[in-house]
Symmetry: C2
Subunit: 257 residues, 2 copies
């Protein structure tokens, strides 16, 4: 492939859920090779300072500006790492970066642009509990900043009825306080009240808290931006343990095969 003359590069790096031991070796190497670090400030803060690394922290609302900034730096010859929590391809910076490329100058397409995958929040949360996403599952962002709420509810209804487990990203924020309650109410119209629902907050970080609830209990349980919510299916099982959080898994089998 032709590369641009700039010699620069952009790598979108998945930092995983928080514990630095969940970074891949390849992601770590990409961070070590970067000259510029761009991202939402809590993610930038996860990368240790070192000589020669220029840090550009921003707030949470300017993904496209951040992407364009990274591409302009790369055009000037810099090696840029754009950092994302979890996996950059899952409700994170990779889509914003390629959106900027599509709508930007043609020469950006010849840049060396890569994505380093990471452990996304739903799979980190699932691993903590057992295998709640062991059958077919969906990942859905509950934010209606970028899609109409009617699309969110139509998608939720389709997948609850079809028997998928569902991972809810961006479940709630101060600007979006009611969406999670509506989503769980919709789930309760379709799924048994005993369906297991996992509220996994800050998984693998020092303030981690993980709760296994029924769907009925989940409807009044507190959540925040750091909470990943996994809604099981009618076949999801709990394995009770003395003195511990139960294991949760969704069997691979669906009756009738």
């Amino acid at each position: 492939m032709n590369r641009t003359d700039s010699g620069g590069s952009v790598t979108v790096v998945g930092l995983g859920p928080g514990d630095p031991r969940l970074l891949t070796e390849s992601a770590r190497a990409a961070l070590d090779a970067a000259q510029d670090l761009i991202g939402y400030h809590p993610y930038v803060a996860r990368v240790p300072e070192r000589d020669g690394l220029v840090r550009h922290s921003t707030d949470n609302r300017v993904e496209l500006d951040r992407a364009r900034h990274a591409l302009e730096l790369a055009m000037s010859g810099r090696h840029v790492a754009v950092v994302s929590g979890g996996d950059p391809g899952v409700f994170a910076m990779a889509a914003a970066l390629f959106e900027a490329v599509e709508h930007g100058p043609l020469e950006w397409r010849a840049l060396d642009i890569r994505v380093e995958p990471g452990i996304t929040a739903m799979l980190a949360a699932a691993a903590r509990l057992g295998a709640p996403l062991g059958g077919d599952f969906c990942a859905l962002s509950l934010s209606d900043n970028l899609k109409p709420w009617e699309v969110v509810t139509a998608r939720l209804e389709a997948v609850f009825r079809a028997g998928f487990a569902v991972a809810l990203y961006n479940p709630i924020s101060s600007a979006r306080p009611w969406q999670l309650g509506r989503a769980l109410a919709l789930a309760a119209e379709i799924l048994p009240a005993t369906t297991p629902v996992i509220f996994a907050r800050a998984v693998t970080r020092p303030d981690e808290s993980v709760r296994v609830l029924t769907l009925a209990e989940a409807r009044t349980a507190p959540a925040d931006m750091a909470t990943m919510i996994l809604i099981g299916t009618s076949t999801t099982r709990l394995i009770e343990r003395e003195g511990g959080v139960p294991f949760v898994y969704t069997p691979r089998s669906v009756a009738g095969a």
Copy 2:
């Protein structure tokens, strides 16, 4: 939590898509600490030999036996790693292990059982291309060994109609030669013929091959067990590049917000 007296443990370890640099540090540490290694032989073969590591390779069809074997070894005091490609919670060994725990002796529930997440195939494939799973998406196993084919098609129809991108695991095998063709024919009834479809074979391994097709082209394209298939949405975009595979991304936005 109470632990069993055995002192043994089982860790289900995600090896990622193939490139050893995509292992997490935590997964590598779990492999280094294991005394016994259990898994389907190509996965066991990925872990280097060392003194004191006992290897138990099996074929692909005995997940529950393999899980019980791991739990019995742990009950005898051994530290066991059960290895899975990708992420063990996504159509892999974790669900089988917890199924064995649920239906096994009660003392198995007190064992130290952990899951080490890994980079699952759909996210490794997505990272290679750009961000094709950048919006809402589903992961579905096309195998009808463990669920009726009618459930597979009902699920596919629901998520194609609702606008999810779809990652197809287990798309084809010598025992299941026609299911992929039917799934793509169903997609073609619902989605535009120009919808991007990615056939990503052996991603990050030496024999990797990645193709970006239209849905119409995909219907006659060859695939095998090592192929991960990502079906885009009506909004998925291609960014053509001189002399290279195009970038593919699904925008975060859905019209109307």
